[in-house]
């Protein structure tokens, strides 16, 4: 006859929440992880204080270039000294308020367009209105405002103008090309394919060279277009090819049954695309389009090479203007790198948010 023998009680399970448990799981799981943590920790302990000394404690925040030359840290005074030149470039100094107002207006509109409350038909009209106002105010020449040639538009306003305008204009072109590449008509399909592959095969810089060197040759005698518009057209055509590929991906993902159902209902080709295909396809590719937006925003820095002074170009001009400040270019570069980073990173965060919004309908 067997007797009941209780087994020894087991210890309570280790807590798997709270900071200590997190450290145990993520930093000291086994000896390899712990060794890695220690090694990286040592490097960080050596590096971070030095970086903070350079960037903050030993840095010069106020002062002129003499104090900067004397100090061992970063010279942020150069940014303080030059920030208007970096942000607005060659735009006349007394008129900077106009550039600032325009930029704020355009940024506000972009921010508004990102929120649900503004996704209404009148948003298009608002965009047109704001862009007209932007161009008028930047250009001036009325109501006592000084006339400012487009050559002088530069810095952050130009970057934002180039990026947003080229994306807005590239979008309809891209939709047409994407539809064309999926069209049943062989001539139209091959024209669109050749366009997309041609543009995607060459670097943006060659397109910009074409816009600035070759365009005057392509137009009739005496017909001159402003360099800003030429470059804008170049970036737009370039971005459209990439965006068309993203949109084509969305179109391909629409099941054939949707189009057949639409045909059964008697919808015409354009009705089918407008009411059935595009709404579903575009919702699917919003993250891809946001990625396009981010790369176009970064690509605008290339116009500095064809002598339009957007943020990067304005910064180079500001720093090279005085020989005394030249050693502190790195601080200037870091400053605009921060500006670019803030813009691009917030766009990518927004893209993640919108992806979650789009996927809401698919979650059950």
């Amino acid at each position: 006859m067997s007797t009941f023998n209780a087994i020894a009680p087991r210890p309570a399970p280790q807590s798997n929440s709270g900071p200590v448990a997190w450290c145990r799981a993520n930093l000291f799981h086994d000896w390899k992880t712990s060794a890695g943590t220690l090694l990286i920790g040592l490097i960080l302990v050596w590096l971070l204080p030095r970086f903070f000394q350079w960037a903050i404690t030993n840095a010069v925040w106020y002062g002129n270039y003499d104090t900067c030359h004397a100090a061992s840290g970063a010279c942020w005074a150069v940014v303080r000294e030059k920030f208007r030149f970096i942000l607005f470039g060659r735009y006349p100094h007394a008129e900077h308020w106009r550039a600032l107002l325009c930029t704020a207006m355009l940024l506000g509109l972009i921010l508004a367009s990102c929120t649900r409350a503004f996704w209404r038909p009148w948003l298009v009209a608002l965009w047109v209105g704001v862009l007209v106002l932007y161009l008028a105010l930047m250009r001036g020449g009325f109501a006592g405002l000084r006339f400012v040639e487009t050559d002088l538009w530069s810095g952050l306003p130009l970057t934002i103008l180039l990026a947003s305008l080229s994306m807005v204009m590239a979008f309809p072109i891209a939709v047409c090309i994407a539809l064309g590449r999926r069209s049943g008509m062989p001539a139209i399909r091959s024209l669109c394919t050749v366009y997309v592959e041609l543009i995607r095969g060459v670097p943006l810089i060659s397109v910009l060279f074409m816009a600035s060197f070759m365009f005057p040759l392509l137009m009739p005698q005496g017909f001159n277009i402003d360099v800003l518009i030429r470059v804008l057209a170049g970036i737009t055509l370039f971005a459209a090819a990439y965006m068309a590929e993203v949109i084509r991906g969305g179109l391909q993902a629409i099941p054939k049954g949707q189009i057949e159902a639409a045909a059964t209902l008697g919808l015409s080709y354009w009705q089918t695309q407008r009411m059935i295909v595009l709404p579903q396809a575009l919702a699917m590719v919003v993250p891809g389009i946001m990625n396009n937006f981010i790369s176009t925003f970064k690509d605008t820095s290339l116009v500095a090479i064809v002598s339009l002074y957007e943020l990067t170009g304005a910064m180079g001009m500001a720093m090279n203007a005085e020989a005394d400040w030249r050693p502190f270019r790195i601080e200037g570069y870091l400053f605009i790198a921060l500006i670019y980073f803030v813009f691009c990173y917030s766009m990518s965060l927004y893209s993640q948010w919108i992806e979650a919004q789009v996927n809401k309908s698919k979650q059950r």
Binding site: N26, T37, G41, V202, Q221, I330, Y333, I336, A337
Partner: protein
């Protein structure tokens, strides 16, 4: 029973016929495009005639008259524009191919690092990706150029790591002195590659016959090394090495990489690696956890499960976007013009300024990039077809 009403005869030339409408649309589209092209070509021809610009590629044979900072082979200003272009193309290819290799290594490490057990490694990899892909490449290149030309010490106080010297003058490193033995080693390498290829074929047949796993990686590698070593021995085992030494004003002897090349290579690699890391991460994430568990249930080691189960499936997802990243890297190498590395774009830029042949020079740039893009995508498509799922 009444006969079914016969449908009215179709008129093929009616506006109601879809085929006819399609024909009209296409003829219109092609006509409009042809008209635009004719208009642009006509304007260009007129403009060139009026401004007295000659056209044609004849200028390529004329004397270039400018020096090129660096080239793989000797070039002097007395040679033709065509030669200058070829130097530019080799410079572009050099930085692009090296960049592709390095970016693959760095990007893969960063991508795998995102799955590390160690939170510090995960966090640092993520930080790297977010920082490097959210700052324009041009800006990064300018910053690297500043680093290599101004932050680094002068040649007399170069940073030294063993036989390597890093200074404002660039990177100096030891190179073997060329001897006929090296040619023998190269032939040996070729023989070794052939040998390992034959070995792999035999090993695969043996595996299919007997079911015994054969060495598919280490044995071929031994073949390659053995071939090279034997070739080197046969060639008389040359060991002379040209090492850099610190001179009075600069680093002398040895091989050297210019600061422009280094800035472009490092900039392109670090920037593209951030994108490659995301591609690799996506690929690994796409393989379901059940596959790994099944592999370990079958008794495969961690390395085997990685090589035989995870990688083949992840590669399928990774290869197409990876091709895009390689193409982007090649196209982005055109930013060299901003930091003065003589790639094909900056040589074309000089040629435009000297000869005014904008049309021809830009056409040449586009031709170079289009053909490189085409070749890269052909190769990657071939590789992708190999890695794709074999379906009946």
């Amino acid at each position: 029973m009444s006969a079914a009403p016969t449908p009215p005869a179709k008129n093929r030339w009616s506006w109601r016929s879809q085929a006819f409408r399609a024909l009209v649309y296409q003829v219109l589209a092609v006509g409009v495009i042809a008209l635009i092209v004719w208009f642009l070509a006509h304007n260009t021809a007129t403009n060139m005639r009026q401004r007295g610009i000659q056209s044609g590629f004849g200028f390529l044979l004329g004397t270039a008259g400018f020096d090129i900072g660096e080239s793989l082979y000797a070039f002097d200003s007395g040679e033709s524009y065509l030669q200058a272009y070829l130097v530019g193309v080799t410079n572009t290819l050099r930085v692009a191919i090296l960049g592709m290799v390095l970016t693959t290594l760095l990007g893969t490490l960063l991508g795998i690092g995102r799955f590390s057990r160690n939170a510090l490694v995960r966090g640092l990899c993520r930080m790297y990706v977010e920082i490097f892909r959210n700052i324009p490449l041009l800006l990064q290149l300018l910053m690297w150029y500043l680093f290599f030309t101004e932050v680094l010490p002068a040649a007399t106080e170069a940073w030294t790591l063993g036989p390597l010297f890093l200074s404002k003058g660039g990177l100096n490193f030891p190179i073997p002195v060329w001897a006929s033995g090296h040619a023998w080693a190269a032939w040996g390498l070729l023989a070794g590659v052939c040998g390992s290829w034959l070995w792999r074929g035999r090993a695969r047949r043996r595996f299919e016959e007997t079911g015994q796993p054969q060495s598919m990686f280490w044995a071929p590698l031994v073949w390659v090394f053995l071939g090279t070593f034997v070739g080197w021995l046969v060639g008389g085992a040359p060991t002379e090495i040209n090492a850099p030494i610190r001179g009075e004003f600069s680093i002398e002897n040895g091989g050297a990489l210019t600061p422009e090349f280094l800035a472009l290579l490092v900039g392109l690699t670090t920037y593209t690696a951030a994108f490659v890391a995301e591609v690799v991460r996506g690929g690994i994430q796409s393989v379901s956890l059940g596959q790994v568990e099944a592999a370990s249930a079958l008794g495969l080691s961690q390395g085997q499960s990685m090589r035989l189960v995870m990688l083949p499936q992840a590669l399928r997802v990774i290869i197409p976007p990876m091709t895009n990243q390689y193409l982007n890297l090649t196209k982005n190498s055109s930013l060299a013009v901003a930091i003065g590395y003589p790639d094909v774009v900056s040589i074309a830029n000089t040629a435009i300024n000297q000869t005014g042949r904008a049309v021809e020079c830009i056409a040449l740039i586009m031709l170079v990039y289009l053909s490189t893009s085409l070749l890269t995508s052909l190769f990657m498509n071939w590789y992708n077809a190999r890695a794709a799922i074999k379906e009946r």
